[in-house]
């Protein structure tokens, strides 16, 4: 029983990390059709930004978050302005260009911050574990879970309830039409990309204390995040949540029953089958082709 509970929590915490990382990607891909292979590098930038703030200003993790969001969003904005905006008519080419961006970011960070692994402190009150029905649950993972949920709420609010979100949805539906109604679609896309990158940065800041901070840490995230977004259904936030839960839970469950290697393989196989039978994603409307 204990094991079941703590296994459930393990699944949830893997899922919450997936969700954190995938959220920004979902926004960028869902709204702009841009397949951002440099997304993992934005996660990495977030982790490094946190490390920088912590080691130079001595800030603790929580006060860092807002700054990290802004810093990485600015980096994302710069990438959109200099590279991505040339490619809106050629979405598949964004895979190639953003891959180039990713290599550059990785090496730039390696040169600037050194090749060593860096380390981000867990905020003190969150470093222990709390007892829940006889199971020790790491408080930081709980915090990450809550934060992911909050971030989801914020994102939903931004997309559904703000003027910016309305413009974004308009541009997503039909860029030309939206432009005709006076929406500055270029600006909307820049901001969207910046927002998505900022979310990736937050993910980086939050995973840094659980994992290690290294220039190539992002490559492990991007494939998983991409799978989460596609399995969930493009443009569906709810789908993204569900698929992070599904993939996280699947990974944890199989890993416990079998081992981590087979778990990963089985989850990927699951993705293949899911995409094959529901290419529109778990939660997208069926319609006339």
């Amino acid at each position: 029983m204990d094991i079941l509970l703590s296994q459930l929590f393990t699944g949830l915490s893997i899922g919450s990390v997936l969700l954190l990382v995938a959220l920004g990607l979902a926004i960028i891909y869902g709204a702009m059709g841009v397949i951002n292979l440099a997304h993992g590098e934005f996660v990495m930038l977030g982790a490094y930004a946190t490390w920088l703030l912590q080691s130079t200003l001595g800030l603790s993790l929580l006060p860092c978050l807002f700054l990290v969001f802004l810093m990485v969003a600015a980096a994302g904005w710069a990438v959109e302005r200099t590279v991505v905006r040339f490619l809106y008519r050629r979405p598949l080419d964004t895979i190639l260009a953003t891959w180039g961006v990713g290599i550059m970011l990785q090496q730039a960070v390696r040169l600037a911050a050194g090749a060593d692994l860096r380390y981000v402190e867990t905020p003190n009150p969150l470093s222990g574990s709390i007892d829940l029905a006889g199971v020790a649950i790491p408080s930081y993972r709980l915090f990450v879970l809550a934060f992911a949920a909050a971030l989801l709420g914020v994102t939903w609010f931004v997309v559904q309830r703000t003027e910016f979100g309305m413009k974004l949805r308009a541009v997503t539906q039909n860029r030309e039409m939206a432009s005709c109604t006076g929406i500055d679609s270029a600006r909307v896309f820049s901001l969207t990309f910046a927002f998505g990158s900022g979310l990736a940065g937050l993910a980086g800041a939050l995973v840094a204390p659980i994992k290690s901070v290294a220039p190539d840490m992002g490559t492990n995230f991007v494939v998983d995040a991409f799978m989460v977004v596609v399995v969930g259904g493009v443009g569906s936030l709810f789908g993204t949540v569900a698929s992070s839960g599904l993939l996280g839970g699947g990974t944890a469950g199989f890993a416990f029953l079998l081992n981590d290697t087979l778990a990963k393989a089985l989850v990927f196989l699951g993705v293949i089958v899911l995409v094959r039978f529901r290419p529109q994603g778990l939660f997208a409307a069926t319609g006339r082709r």
Binding site: D2, I3, S6, Q7, F9, T10, G11, S13, I14, V17, Q106, Q107, R110, G114, A115, D116, L117, R118, Y119, E121, T122, S127, G128, S129, A136, P138, S139, Y140, R141, P209, I210, K211, S212, V213, A214, P215, D216, M217, N220, T251, A252, A255, F256, N259, D260, T261, A263, K264
Partner: protein, 415 residues
């Protein structure tokens, strides 16, 4: 330190986009050239500066160059300057093979220092064996290799485990959980561990391998919770070490009751996770930064002067450092005309040197090194406290677990 080389290449490879064939230097046939010419001896330095394993390999690269610097500063080898030819194999086995080829065939290096992972060593091996060149490999590894083209300066399983496992059983108990990354090194170490445990009447309660780069240990931790072992025997490598330690502590496990005993956790990984997460866990290795000796003090001082005050040395970078000095001693024994990779190898057999860990010797039969295994306990400040050192240096036995086989001067001898 790379000035000469940069100079040479500026003219050669500026051709850039046109790539290879365009640059005239590539067409020079240099197969007739001697291994050491014009008061210079070229050596290859083959550690990844980019890619996944750059994290560790950069420090090996640094240690190697530092040793070369020291040798040149003290007048070189018999008056010859050691010229490092640096390549970046980018953490990719295929690139390792490619660059090794270039160092051996094109640059005519008399020897190459390189590699961290087993996979990259395996990838370059055919180049050195078929071209009769010499490779110096500083990493601890799984043993079971008897190549006559490689000098191994890292530990093999018998050196790390023979004293460690009994010590663990004595102090913590007989129930071990084995967790490692999913490749040959952890599996082989675990083979040895199981043999030792069996002799001691111990028990393996679980054995688990995680993919390389794995960072979610929740399920593994739950298995620990379920099986309640006395010791977690870890051969997890790379970033995973950090994730494992952090999540281990966060899940409420404590080293007092259930310590992790590792063969792979070094000062590098601890620096990247923060000392508090490692504190209390154990590692067995021939070298710790906290080891007290005059040689080590000088090594650390020189390293930190060059690469920053907060940089750390560890059991692989120490080997990367002293193996270059072993190389110097071997070459010193040879006349200028006799310098060939094979002769360097033969001269290296039996060489002794005072390394930071203590006096080490190249075993002429196996080309592995006699080393000084130590057991260290990680402290909150990121250093290891050496709590036990072997009474004497320990002979390398790459086939320890396979009694029928032994590595000799003429290669592997079966029973």
């Amino acid at each position: 330190m790379t000035l000469t080389r940069r100079h040479f290449l500026k003219s050669a490879a500026i051709a850039g986009a046109a790539g290879t064939a365009a640059s005239p230097q590539f067409w020079i046939k240099n197969s007739g050239m001697a291994w050491a010419a014009g008061k210079e001896i070229k050596v290859g330095v083959l550690f990844s500066l980019t890619g996944t394993t750059a994290v560790v390999e950069k420090s090996l690269h640094n240690a190697t160059l530092m040793a070369i610097d020291e040798i040149n500063a003290s007048g070189g080898i018999n008056g010859m300057k050691v010229v490092p030819v640096i390549e970046d194999p980018a953490s990719d086995p295929a690139t390792f093979a490619e660059k090794a080829n270039k160092l051996v065939l094109n640059d005519r290096c008399a020897t190459v220092f390189g590699s961290y992972t087993s996979a990259s060593r395996k990838a370059v091996l055919p180049v050195f064996e078929k071209r009769k060149n010499l490779y110096w490999y500083p990493t601890l590894y799984e043993g079971r290799e008897c190549s006559k083209s490689v000098i191994y300066t890292g530990a093999v399983p018998n050196q790390q485990q023979k004293e460690f496992i009994p010590w663990l059983v004595r102090n913590f108990g007989k129930r071990f959980y084995l967790v490692g990354s999913n490749y040959i090194y952890p599996k082989e170490e675990n083979n040895v561990c199981k043999i030792l445990l069996k002799e001691l009447g111990g028990e393996v309660v679980g054995e688990e391998y995680v993919p390389l780069g794995h960072s979610e240990f929740g399920s593994v931790l739950n298995k620990f919770r379920e099986t309640k072992p006395d010791v977690i025997f870890s051969t997890v490598v790379g970033d995973s070490v950090i994730a494992l330690h952090k999540q281990y502590k966060a899940a409420g496990f404590s080293p007092d009751r259930m310590p992790m005993a590792s063969l792979t956790t070094s000062e590098v990984e601890i620096a990247a996770m923060g000392g508090e997460y490692a504190a209390g866990h154990f590692t067995s290795a021939p070298y710790f930064m906290g080891h007290e000796s005059a040689e080590n003090a000088a090594f650390i001082e020189g390293y930190q002067r060059r690469f920053g005050k907060d940089s750390v040395t560890h059991f692989v970078s120490e080997a990367a450092y002293f193996q270059v000095h072993l190389f110097r001693q071997a070459v010193e024994k040879l006349g200028t005309g006799d310098i060939t990779p094979t002769n360097i190898r033969d001269a290296a057999g039996g060489q002794e040197i005072k390394a930071p860990q203590g006096r080490v010797k190249v075993d002429a039969d196996t080309l592995h090194c006699y080393l000084w295994p130590k057991i260290g306990q990680a402290q909150a400040n990121g250093q290891f406290k050496v709590i036990q050192q072997s009474a004497d240096w320990v002979k390398p036995e790459p086939y320890w677990a396979y009694p029928g086989l032994s590595c000799t001067r003429d290669g592997l001898k079966g029973a």
